[in-house]
């Protein structure tokens, strides 16, 4: 078995290295120039293609003079993530307040208005669009999902029924269908003449979709909490919300971490589905770049790049979740 594995690695890895590194070309003006620099055309990867298009892949059609706003948003995003992801931070309370304000701050920064030059959301694209959809879905689906999960266990029949209906309806419909609903049908329901931004509709649909799944994941965690925990909270005089917040949810969410992160990763990758309704995320832009005659035929390079991008994001999420599980383990 071991020998077989080594043999497989030996036959697979060297050609990949040859292609991706040794014979690769990093600067060229077109595919032709690229392949001219290689021993045989296509013997190496033409990374010049990615390099040439990186601006497009990152910012989409966002107006070039305003790209600093995207860059700033990205820096703000990293800054907002820090207080959420680490807990031993001075002034973490203020950090968290900033993190809570972050989505609105960046929404303003990217879309413009109120003193900033407005940018139409059609011009969003590439990695930036992927991040906007992914981060929005992830940050809003967790709180909504928790609320739905608690609602589903509520003793108030109307509230419980509404939550069950919502969750079951959303879970019963494919995301693509919901996206089509977002792109076409919502206009019928709204009064004629209202302009309801397509990206905003997509964000809402993706968030609702993710929330329904999140609700079921959180419910699984909630059910794993023993009755005795609720009773202990009750007997100490904690109110329902105090007990949920201080006792039940911290434990339930901890149990649910692997599944929550799993859902986040799935959601993040599902953002590529928006290309079906004409939003050009990184995959959509890549595809359309392949149609450029100068660069046609470089699908391997493109998809490898896209795959690498998603892998980096998803792998860091899964690593972080492992770290979190370890940190929260309290020996029981």
């Amino acid at each position: 078995m071991t020998l077989l594995s080594f043999w497989l690695l030996y036959t697979i890895i060297p050609p990949i290295i040859d292609w991706a590194i040794i014979n690769s070309v990093w600067t060229a003006g077109s595919r032709k120039e690229c392949w001219d620099q290689m021993p045989t055309p296509g013997a190496g990867a033409c990374w010049a293609f990615i390099e040439n298009r990186i601006g497009l892949f990152t910012y989409g059609f966002y107006p070039e003079p305003l790209r600093w706003r995207v860059n700033l948003s990205f820096v703000l995003f990293v800054l907002a993530a820090i207080p959420v992801l680490t807990d031993k931070l001075p002034f973490r309370k203020y950090g968290l307040m900033y993190s809570a304000a972050f989505p609105f701050l960046v929404g303003w920064l990217l879309v413009g208005g109120w003193g900033l030059e407005p940018v139409d959301t059609d011009q969003f694209g590439g990695i930036m669009l992927t991040l906007v959809i992914g981060v929005t879905g992830i940050t809003f689906s967790l709180p909504i999902g928790i609320a739905l999960a608690l609602g589903r266990q509520s003793k108030m029949p109307v509230l419980r029924m509404l939550c069950v209906l919502f969750i079951e309806f959303i879970r019963g419909v494919p995301l693509i269908t919901l996206l089509f609903v977002a792109s076409t049908m919502l206009n019928y329901f709204l009064p004629p003449g209202t302009v309801f931004d397509l990206l905003l509709r997509v964000l809402i649909m993706v968030t609702l979709f993710a929330s329904a799944y999140m609700a079921e994941i959180v419910r699984g965690g909630l059910q794993a909490i023993e009755k005795g925990q609720h009773e202990a909270g009750d007997s100490l005089g904690l109110s329902y919300w105090q007990a949920q917040r201080l006792i039940v949810l911290p434990q339930a969410l901890k149990i649910a971490i692997p599944n929550i992160v799993n859902a986040f990763i799935g959601l993040y990758k599902d953002t590529t589905l928006v290309l079906i309704i004409g939003l050009l995320d990184i995959l959509g832009l890549g595809d359309s770049s392949l149609a450029d005659l100068d660069w046609a035929g470089l699908a391997n390079e493109l998809y490898l790049f896209v795959a690498l991008f998603f892998f980096t994001c998803c792998f860091s999420m899964s690593r972080y979740s492992l770290y979190l599980e370890k940190k929260l383990h309290t020996g029981h």
Partner: protein, 254 residues
């Protein structure tokens, strides 16, 4: 002699009054016509075969279980569906469970300071100071920063007692506090309970520890099939049981 009268009434102060109380679990009649009065500082030990309703009875006193008929008045507050009343009663009644029910994601100290901080709105530093005092009283101050999962059963139960005491309750309920413990740990928990009893706390204890009953109990109640069969002081209860079912029960456990 008004002064003596005052002392007398405070000594005779009734903490819990239960009158013709019934409870059903669906069709099952768990508690039948319960009448019970507990005075301030009294230690009541409740025993009986499993399924006799003794746990359910004390769980009714802080409304973990809802009774359907009759009345329960705890320290002047009647237990009804009124959430305010339930809140008042729960903040005055501490409870210790068979399976400890400590919060596993919090340290022993945090377990103890949680309710004072959130329910009583005690400042954190002060709540932790009080928590530390009670952890010392149950003789495990050195375990304050450990998580429940890192403590032995006996230590966990002592933390649970300290957690209840931190709310400064007027009544303590114990629901089989030693039956989930290994034999060598029972004593350390009973010692804490005996010390608590000697400090004058009103206590209702569901237990089969007859040593505890004779040492600190003011009265022993025997329950069977949802009824209070016999109520007597510990000495007469063990030496001279009146009822056949009590005799049978005592012959099985002693």
């Amino acid at each position: 002699m008004p002064i003596t009268d005052n002392t007398k009434t405070s000594q005779e102060e009734t903490m819990i009054t239960i009158e013709s109380m019934h409870k059903w679990f669906d069709d099952f009649h768990v508690l039948k016509n319960i009448n019970l009065e507990v005075k301030k500082g009294e230690k009541v030990v409740i025993c009986g075969p499993s399924g006799s309703g003794k746990s359910t009875l004390i769980r009714c006193i802080n409304r973990l279980e809802v009774h359907q008929q009759g009345s329960i008045i705890v320290d002047g507050t009647e237990l009804t569906n009124d959430l305010k009343n339930i809140e008042i009663v729960r903040s005055e009644v501490g409870m210790v469970f068979q399976h400890f029910n400590l919060f596993p994601h919090l340290t022993a100290l945090e377990n103890c300071s949680l309710a004072p901080i959130w329910v009583r709105k005690t400042p954190k530093a002060e709540a932790e100071k009080i928590a530390m005092e009670y952890l010392e009283r149950v003789k495990i101050p050195e375990q304050a920063h450990k998580f429940p999962g890192q403590l032995s059963g006996g230590q966990q139960q002592r933390v649970a007692i300290a957690r209840s005491l931190c709310m400064n309750p007027r009544i303590m309920l114990f629901d089989e506090p030693t039956s989930a413990l290994d034999p060598e740990m029972i004593k350390e928990v009973l010692d804490v309970m005996i010390e608590l009893a000697e400090s004058g706390m009103t206590m209702l204890v569901v237990t089969h520890e007859m040593g505890f009953a004779t040492a600190v109990g003011d009265c022993v109640i025997f329950m069977d099939e949802g009824e209070i069969i016999e109520k007597n002081n510990p000495k007469d209860f063990f030496n001279n049981p009146q009822h056949d079912r009590t005799k049978l029960f005592l012959s099985q456990i002693l």
